[in-house]
Amino acid sequence: MTSDIIHMQAIRKVYDTGKIKVEALKGIDLAVKPGEFVAIVGPSGSGKSTLMNLIGCLDTPTDGRYQLGGEDVSTLDRDALADVRNRRVGFVFQGFNLLPQISAFENVEMPLVFGGVGLRERKQRVTELLDRVGLGDRMEHKPTELSGGQMQRVAIARALAMRPDVILADEPTGNLDTSAGGDIMQLFADLWAQGKTLVVITHDMTLARRASRVVEVRDGRIIRDVASAEVA
């Protein structure tokens, strides 16, 4: 057993499109401890998004061992994986991935519905979370009625809803202008300060510098894993 939240050993991922086999990850060893803020950087096509999807149990590795919160998730079936995604991981996507037809409140409520949280507690948690990301007055607005920065804050509130072990963010500032991006970075920094564990994929070196640790991925391998102070 290990105290790591994320513990990956020799993780490989091969995409088999029939004719061509693409080896996106060629053996990743990664361990993340509670309270860390890890930035994963690397050029596009390096495999960092694939790594992110595997960490979040959105996809399954071709081989290797993966323990999430001490639980071996490489052997779980679909329903168990759904539960893991629901309880252990909170996602923030580049494209927000909010459901467009329903309100901010209902979007944040969704993982709580899947997690079987009762109506009264849902209402309380969602209200609290939206207040915390500064959208207490926008709860009934639909995503289309919000700005990009506001949408991403709804997504962060949604990621926090089930009080997950780790927050995963894939280019969270990629679709935002500098000022909105800065707000989101600040929000992540605040979450880290509150003791959350964060893994963020980013191009944005400003954001990477705020992290406690920077992991650089290239060609499906980790080529550098250092404390952020060492990043030039």
Binding site: R78, N97, Q101
Partner: protein, 407 residues
């Protein structure tokens, strides 16, 4: 459970056009098929009713001239049937339920200042039931006592009764008919009749055959009608009637012209066959309508799943299990089907309720909804939608969330 319901209402509300189209597809299919078959059924019943205006599967026979020489007698001899021959046929033909002779004449009818010439038939009491001469309330047809006692009783067609008495009741009045006083015992209830052999019953009068013979001195029947036990035996019964008369009146039993017979049961058989094929036709049209409707519904469901694959992906990423996603789709389809079916039925019922009020009943009949057909229609459409929605939804919920989200 309530979460699913809330989710459902939310989805339906947020996808108004899509929901509307699906519901419309089911409504359209249900209405088209139920109405098609309802009108077919109504028309069939009406045709039977129209034909039954002439009589209840009876045969009408006219004695005429022989066409084949028989036992030394030449052709062209007139066959004259008297009441005793009718009696003989009644006794000797086992397949006959009822038989009545009919004597015809046109006599003058006086009532107050009015005088009209009326076609009258002298008949037996069984004539009324055979020919579907149903009296209006308060009256009756000629009965056996009238016949036995040569009563001067008269049964009037509704049109004649209206011409003479207007709106005041005719039953119980006495008129002078053919020079003798007659008591009006009944008036024909208005009926639908699309064929006749003398004239339509609404314009005729009927009296007991015995009274008729006494009044006019007629000896020979004009024609007679009889009813076989069942329409399928009408041919053998007619042959037996011919044989009996041929023996009594000495003509060749094979001589079809000596006694010409109009078997209305034939007509019913034809109607049955005709409507069987007509309904088959409507059924096929209905099936195609259903198929087209089903394709529409399944198309929409397909599109629904396709455009919602991303949504499914997001939900799975947030921890929705496959079951949860499938349940949502099934619930949605069931709700939409039930709604569409209900609206379709309501429209069909409304139309079937309204049509009889347009006054075209005599020609097209009153459409009649078959509940089983309607239920089956909605069920088929629903099942189509369900299948069409189920498989793509299952496919989508089996994708890895990443893949589904990127679509």
């Amino acid at each position: 459970m309530s979460d699913i319901l809330r989710q459902l209402i939310r989805d339906v509300r947020s996808q108004k056009l899509r929901t509307f189209l699906t519901v419309f597809g089911i409504v359209w299919g249900t209405v088209a098929v139920t109405l098609l078959l309802a009108f077919g059924r109504g028309l069939h019943k009406q045709m039977i009713k129209n034909s039954a205006g002439l009589g209840d599967r009876i045969a009408i026979a006219w004695p005429a001239l022989t066409s084949i020489p028989f036992e030394g007698l030449g052709r062209g001899r007139r066959i004259r049937v008297r009441e005793e021959h009718i009696e003989a046929v009644r006794r000797q033909t086992p397949g006959i339920v009822a038989i009545s002779s009919e004597y015809n004449e046109t006599l003058k009818l006086h009532y107050g200042m009015k005088t009209v010439a009326v076609d009258v038939s002298g008949v037996d009491s069984s004539f009324g039931a055979m020919r579907n001469l149903i009296p209006e309330a308060g009256g009756r047809f000629i009965n056996p006592i009238d016949v036995r006692e040569n009563r001067r009783a008269l049964f009037l067609g509704d049109k004649i009764a209206k011409d003479i008495f207007g709106k005041s009741p005719a039953v119980g009045k006495t008129v002078i008919f053919g020079g003798s006083p007659f008591l009006i015992v009944g008036v024909l209830q208005e009926k639908v009749q699309n064929s006749s052999y003398n004239s339509r019953d609404e314009g005729r009068a009927y009296m007991p055959g015995t009274t008729f013979r006494a009044l006019t001195g007629a000896k020979y029947v004009n024609n007679f009608i009889y009813q076989p036990v069942s329409p399928s035996e009408s041919e053998s019964v007619t042959a037996a009637v011919r044989a009996t008369l041929a023996r009594a009146l000495r003509f060749d039993p094979k001589d079809k012209e000596a006694l010409s017979v109009w078997d209305t049961a034939e007509q019913f058989k034809f109607l049955d066959v005709f409507f069987l094929s007509f309904r088959l036709f409507l059924g096929i049209v209905g099936c195609f309508t259903l198929i087209v409707g089903g394709i529409g519904v399944s198309n929409i469901m397909n599109v629904v799943v396709e455009e919602r694959t991303k949504e499914i992906g997001i939900k799975m990423a947030l921890g929705a299990r496959q079951r949860w996603i499938m349940r949502q789709f099934l619930f949605e389809t069931i709700l939409i089907t039930a709604l569409g079916g209900a609206i379709g039925f309501a429209i069909s019922f409304a139309i079937c309720f309204a049509v009889p009020k347009l006054g075209a009943t005599e020609f097209v009949g009153d459409p009649e909804i078959s509940l089983s057909v309607a239920a089956l229609t909605a069920l088929v459409l629903g099942a189509t939608g369900l299948l069409a929605g189920y498989f793509p939804a299952r496919e989508a919920s089996r994708l890895d969330p990443v893949v589904a989200m990127k679509l």
